[in-house]
Symmetry: C2
DNA sequence: ACCTTTCGTTGGAACGTTCCAACAACTATG
DNA sequence: CATAGTTGTTGGAACGTTCCAACGAAAGGT
């Protein structure tokens, strides 16, 4: 009944039991007598008692908390993955601590340091910019699952990602089915997922016997870089563009329209990721959509498994992407003329 | 040198000093001798020592941590506000714990409960769906700053928000300057910020002597609701639309285009918020932009002040919005014809 | 040479929990 | 009727820090 926050001890004296029994009751132990349990619950309620997570963590030697680092909170892709993570973690009784380094490896490192100070039991990295050796050091300290990147594989680290090669293949195959052959790829720059997507493009062009018309224009993952890359790509007079991600695809569309051409009548465009704004009525972007929330839940369930059974070997989980046909793709006009 | 994580005590024995001195050194106390400090730092480094935040919080009786609840991580508005918060909090040596209730008041409540268990010293609510009495209970327990909503004011709670009435006025005034008079407002539904924006529209129409042509069409804050509202609004044959937020404005634009009209040639559209995707080249939305990051830093500095000086009275801080003219506004074609 | 201050350092108490061994009061067992 | 469980409860130790009062040594003032 002190002036400061009530502790378990205050609850105990009010309920006329020992502090140990209060602890047991609040943890939901079945060994607590019905009568005492009721008394304790009432006492806790009247005092407005709230558990002290710091003390709990210290005494129990486990925090029931996991950390999540996301590359960039501005990109809705990550919010959707996070949804999946949160839902699953709540189910398993874990608290999620979320940090974002804002694409800066230095911040990422110090944020992870903070998470570790909070005694997190596991870590999910939703994309990251960490060097492999830093990653290895982290994975050695705490069970770690990396989402979205599968390029770095470590024995102690799980990965959950989509199959970029196959996904991009889906896009190319679809365009070929529509009758396109002058299909240009705008790359996402020099980073692992983008490389796989280019790979997927090249393989798909080959299997459709279009190897010699395959063209890759270097680009990036943002609106602006997509715009710039598309401007260059237009000189190749393509009938379709396969772009590294949805943001860049939106930039590409702007470039096409500014050049006086129409999407999809003159040029078809396909993005990658399936971000929700791509579905906005005035965007309506055809895209290869990753099951984002599913990536999140998979990562979370995997991490929980790992926490409960640390000696289990790491897994590499791959989910398949899916083509989402919306309004930016169409048969090429005058297919014969362009068949060349 | 135990098998488990090194504690301050392990560092002490290795450096041949007392644990108290290690604590002092690691907190950066100036009373520690130069020689000892060096020894301790080396020892900590070689052991890979890391502070235990739980123990620290327990002993120091303060967590150096604040909590942030955001309404919805999918909406980039909130990510941008968060940027401001994070930067400022880092500067002040606080760790930020981020949670999102996903627009569900029940989750919001339980998330805040979790934050309080972690002994947060302050709370920032970036929009919320909490009932006023819940809010009051929370603000009574921990210094609280509400960002984006200024409708509920409590003696123990600061608010930081933009002036929606003035902001919407800016949009209307600009359209009038361009020569528009048939300006229709698409509301954002029944919630406090949306009501203020409608208010701002009505006041601005009045001061421009356009009261009798003022029309408000009920809508919402999403793409879909904006689309629906715009479809209805078109029957009023407006030359310009003032929309509750950017997402709804994008929906509205789609509706206009589907009706065979062009933006901005036939109808001008202005949104509200200034989300970054509004700047994408193929969106290019004219909007009333809030200084989002600034809202964040203001909230954070305010909270730190409050934590350091709890008896200070609460403040209501208002920042002004700014018109961001991009590509969805233009003089009405044949202004005379439409002047009516 | 003495007292006083300053500097660097120390052990121990606290913080609010969980965990464990121990125990009293019953109930069942042979 | 003694023994063995079972059920509910308990005090105390531990967790890894910070904080505080206290202290020895060196330095300064008279």
């Amino acid at each position: 009944m002190s002036v400061s926050k009530p502790s378990i001890h205050d609850v105990a004296t009010l309920a006329n039991v020992s502090k140990s029994l209060v602890s047991l009751a609040l943890m939901g132990s079945p060994k607590v007598g019905e009568e005492s349990r009721a008394k304790i619950l009432v006492a806790a309620e009247t005092l407005g008692y709230r558990k002290n997570a710091a003390a709990r963590t210290l005494a129990a030697k486990r925090s029931k908390t996991i950390g999540v680092l996301v590359l960039d909170l501005h990109n809705p892709v990550f919010a959707e993955i996070l949804d999946g993570v949160q839902i699953e973690m709540r189910k398993n009784g874990f608290t999620t601590m979320l940090v974002s380094g804002g694409e800066d490896p230095v911040f990422e490192q110090s944020d992870i340091e903070t998470l570790l100070q909070f005694q997190i039991e596991g870590l999910i990295l939703i994309s990251h910019r960490l060097a492999p050796e830093r990653l290895a050091a982290i994975a050695a300290e705490v069970p770690t699952v990396v989402v979205t990147r599968s390029d770095i594989q470590l024995p102690a680290m799980d990965t959950v990602s989509n199959d970029d090669v196959a996904g991009t293949g889906l896009a190319v195959d679809f365009l070929v089915t529509l009758g396109h052959s002058k299909i240009v790829c705008l790359s996402g720059g020099e980073n692992p997922p983008s490389n796989s997507r280019v790979q997927g493009y090249l393989q798909a062009m080959e299997r459709n016997n279009l190897s010699e018309s395959a063209r890759v224009v270097p680009g990036g993952l943002s609106d602006a870089t997509g715009y710039a890359a598309a401007t260059k790509a237009l000189k190749l007079s393509p009938t379709a563009l396969v772009v590294a991600n949805d943001f860049a695809a939106m930039g590409a569309i702007a470039a096409i329209q500014e050049a006086g051409l129409r999407v999809p009548e003159d040029i078809s465009v396909i993005g990658y990721d399936g971000i929700s704004i791509g579905g906005l009525k005035n965007v309506n972007l055809t895209t290869v959509s990753q099951p984002l929330a599913e990536l999140g839940t998979l990562a979370a369930t995997r991490l929980v498994e790992r926490i409960n059974n640390p000696k289990e070997p790491a897994k590499q989980i791959t989910v398949s992407a899916q083509l989402l046909v919306r309004g930016t793709t169409k048969e090429p006009t005058g297919a014969t003329e362009l068949a060349n």
